[in-house]
Symmetry: C2
Subunit: 343 residues, 2 copies
Amino acid sequence: MPQALNTNRKIVLNSRPVGSPASENFHLIQDEVPVPGEGQVLLRTVYLSLDPYMRGRMSDAPSYAPPVGVGEVMVGGTINRVVRSNNPKFQDDDLVLGNVGWQDYALTDGNDLVALGNAQHPSHFLGVLGMPGFTAYAGLLKIGQPKPGETVVVAAASGAVGSVVGQVAKLKGARVIGIAGGKEKCDFVVSSLGFDNCIDHRSPHFANQLAAACPNGIDVYFENVGGAVFDAVLPLLNVEARVPLCGLIAHYNDTALPSGPDRLPVLMASILTRRLRAQGFIISDFYQSTFQEFRRDMTAWVSQGEVKVREDVVSGLENAPEAFIGMLRGKNFGKLVVKVSDE
Amino acid sequence: MPQALNTNRKIVLNSRPVGSPASENFHLIQDEVPVPGEGQVLLRTVYLSLDPYMRGRMSDAPSYAPPVGVGEVMVGGTINRVVRSNNPKFQDDDLVLGNVGWQDYALTDGNDLVALGNAQHPSHFLGVLGMPGFTAYAGLLKIGQPKPGETVVVAAASGAVGSVVGQVAKLKGARVIGIAGGKEKCDFVVSSLGFDNCIDHRSPHFANQLAAACPNGIDVYFENVGGAVFDAVLPLLNVEARVPLCGLIAHYNDTALPSGPDRLPVLMASILTRRLRAQGFIISDFYQSTFQEFRRDMTAWVSQGEVKVREDVVSGLENAPEAFIGMLRGKNFGKLVVKVSDE
């Protein structure tokens, strides 16, 4: 569906998913391109970020952010071009980091925009230099606190967050074991990202292979998956291991709890007897204390090639729902972004 | 069974319990009182501390301390009188803090003894001024970190650890809700220890009563119970709540996991979405950093009556097994100690 002139396409939440989101949970509507009022900025979307947290926003279960209302535009970080600025802080044609969600055009008062100047890879500000990269950096260094020689395990190792976690842990002197889905991703994680090893969680021998790859146990497990991956990690956690809890993508589509026995007491006993620290976080908690440090370090690492970036770019806003649904099944390979229009 | 002259009674582990310990898991044997060699100190036990952690030592499941071997004397903290010292650091008749376990007499090289001088209440060094008090102090203040006005909930509120946790939290300006078994204990926790409220976990309406007592949720939950108590606490934990994990007495006698569904993902999701920090600890981790501070503060608070002490004193070493078994069922009321011989 090509974009008609003067038309603003918006993808709205059509209904709340039960289990895995499906295409019918989304609805593409057409609207007029809005006209900026006094002080307002009209934005055109260039890139839209797709991230696992959006699954949470589709549900109305209590969480740390309010849900998207049915009929409302799906939320999401964006890279935008300024089409028309009535705000003295921005000029027509500026490239900015925005947060206008799944649509071609949007109005804003400009307060939530960050000017990107002549950024060479603007989409990086949705990934390694943006929210996912910062999540990796702060969660690993401020909660995980890996020491040189310790073993760090990271799930979803080829993804936007996991790939950064592992590379930063390597830079800090840790031994790093990734977990990813399939041989191709595992090969990439080791040969391109420089992890010490990567285990395929689809292997029938996954738990044994992970144990063999961690002969000294696990000191930091950066959790963004849960499910069978966590089940294999838990017995390997060392005394005083740290578990920064960033996501649980394996459970986002759950409609019921797994059958028994009830292992809640197992987790509690593990935390007790191995003096684990399990800590959930959202990245907004760290902006004030850690963002400057992150941006300085990560910009240097990326420009020096010490942190490598892989993006999975899907073309066309209309393809966002399918790409998002696939991401929850591990189909993306690298940071998933939608190219909505030309830069 | 009165003590025969020149006889050393020892209570040894007779067999490992399956489920709740029973009297047949213990065995009282008689031996000769040992003779101190060069540099050695012969000790007579005055008080023996009974603590929940000993249940763990009776099992050979992996934990942070090695198990007691079958046929070996049960471990435990003790207050001892020096009978005969061949060690220049101690004199006959000194009162010391020791760790000689469930027996009338023991030999030591003196390295693990702490002289108590003319301590007015020597048994306090097994409770409020000793390991349980230090556990409460360090777990609450270093992991729980309550702020004035926050809500602190503590289970086993009349016990050796819980009673101190709650009183220290009150001194730090928190609102403190205890959980205890039965009306008598709850009344004591409120009227004598000064907690703001105390809920009887045996009540059929326990979970609702706890929720009603915590209208602003729970900011710190000092966990030493687990089971149904934790189940009632979990939904009430606030964003960024802290859970110092000190013990899980409700599970120590478990022989199998509870039936399903499996709620491990529920706990993980709670930690994630509410950014909880759950951290297990053992007190030895804190000795170097925090013991001096603890001893100074707690000595002052006890002497000024700001922290009140209740002991449950059982007479006679031979009654230790029954007292210990009862403690695991919540039968004690205050810090449980066995008076083994006169001071």
